[in-house]
Amino acid sequence: MSAPPAVRNGSSGGLVALIRAHRSISVLVGWALVGALLPFIVLVPPFSTFQAQSLWIGGFANSGVFILLALGLNIVVGLAGLLDLGYAAFFAIGSYTYAFGASSFTGLHVPFWPMLLVGAFAAATFGILLGAPTLRLRGDYLAIVTLGFGEIVPAVFLNADTYTRGTNGIGGVAQPALPFLQFNFSDPVPFYVTMVAILAVVMVFVYRLQGSRLGRAWMAVREDELAAASSGVNTVTTKLLAFALGASTAGLAGVFNASKLGIVSPDQFGFAVSFTVLAMVVLGGMGNAWGVAIGAFTLYEIQSVVLKGLNQFFQQVQVPFLDTIDFVQYQFLLYGLALVAMMLLRPEGLFPSRRRQRELHQVSEDVADVPPPTAALGD
């Protein structure tokens, strides 16, 4: 793919130039390296003292689900600038699509791989169904509508119990099958490999989109909708595509998650998931795919490993007062503190894309006019 203008600016060392000239290949190589190295990094202290390698790998596979979600939401929020607070809904739709397609509940047993596409497609369809009537809404109205949608979808799966087994959820969801990979409940590696592969492909797609006509249209709409329309961009189609593609990524995540977990239940898709993913995107640095991925990975590990481990630590080190506190009980509080702290320290995220960094500092207005002089005084 030709060097997308999106990445033209900046320094151009030999390697940098090479990477930019062959974006897709370098992304694939990057993921291959990450995927190959992670399992061995956790063998060295301090990580090795934490938990066994297999547990780490299983955890990585789960965090991959969130990275996938973050990458998808990044298209909607980061690139097209549409605030979506109900993103978990599409995750749920993906999961249930797979549960319907491959579980003893419906009796259907469609293989995993085609279902990946089906799930993505189903999610995308709902993305369009939701987007079509609502996309003309101003930013924050759209936000609350998506928030509403995010509340409705799990509620429907919960209440329509004749079709979804309601709060019990659908169990016995089939696992993927491959001739050379044995998927089962004791060995996380196959899932890990699959996830890395999916992520690599999705990331390539994200970069290609960013550099494409569509990607530019997204950014144009984000920057100034009227100017975009006056340049011939059909803003409605553009936004719908952002919604659809973002949703389809969540669909993929849903299918994968359902198959790894073997069960789908409404309580997996609450508002908590939506804003966790949003936090991941914002923390990682909107608009920057790698940044978002890292943000998601970090936040997930903090949530599922770090916070759960504080007790043992303080009890072992015998810290005078701390070892008497039950941190497991307050991890939620620590999580909140972490969010606030990280935001106050790095409002534009850990790894902001070079150009978003500046623009993100302006207080957004309905009509993005010439940016106010305050624009640059972010921090």
């Binding site: 924050d140 509508v145 972490a338 606030v340 995220g349 957004s364």
Partner: protein
Amino acid sequence: MRVLRPAAVVIGALVVAFAILGIQQFENFLTLGAIYALVALGYTMVYGIIELINFAHGDVFMVSAFLSMWIITVPLGLADRPIDNPLQLTAVLVIVVLATMVFMGCIGVIIERFAYRPLRHAPRLAPLITAIGVSFILQNIIQAIFSTSPISVPQIFPKTKFEILGGSIGALNIFMVVVAIVLMVALQLFISRTRLGRAMRSTAQDREAAELMGVDINQTIAITFFIAAALAGSAGVIQGQYFGSIQYNLGFFAGLKAFTAAVLGGIGNTTGAAIGGFVIAFIEVFAAQVGLARWSEVAVFTVLILVLVFRPSGILGQALGERA
């Protein structure tokens, strides 16, 4: 502010609601609506002035419910038994409501100072995330102090009921609705008549311009947060007295509904927020009436989406903070 049109909408809606619900449920609807409206006002004011979806507001409301409970039990040392002496009752109520409102107001200001002001020029999503963080923090502080189980609030209000239109209406319900209406009218007057109110409106319209005209932006925003939190405080007292039992996580859902109400009414528009609150209360009570309680949340959001599809900026069009 245009007062006539909202007034007409309110009256019309009330008549319809009464016709559909019947007196007893109408009572429930008004009471619930009053609470949602009070909380929604906070969302709408904060949004109107700094375009921030203050997710922590619902939890400010929750904290205030606990605070009022604490004030009643510890400093006032009252038990779970109605006070029949009207003078004493009034005195207690005034103390509790005022104390809660003032204290919560301060908390609101503190939150703004430390969690939002530093991010005023940051990416607009940054304060949204901190807001969520703050709401976690508030929830956990309460959780640490009062545990996660439901806590019962001493109900000091007499359980007297009046026979009205063939239904028996609780004195408490009347009190609640009256308090809510008084506060809302007071707010309207404050915004439209006083100097600070004007400062708030101009800041909402165009912060830079207001600043040039010599409005102290920080002070104005702080005051907005104070009022918003104080209103949530009053709602918290009411919540405790009416429902008699509070839990550390009631803030999230109340907040969600209140915010929906604010948007439904046209976010940034204080009258709209009040109306939105009652609309949502109506939907919920109606759902319960026809035995679809489990669908009420779905109904609420469906209505929201439909309204926004046909009236993209809420029931009362022009928002306080609308940019040209």
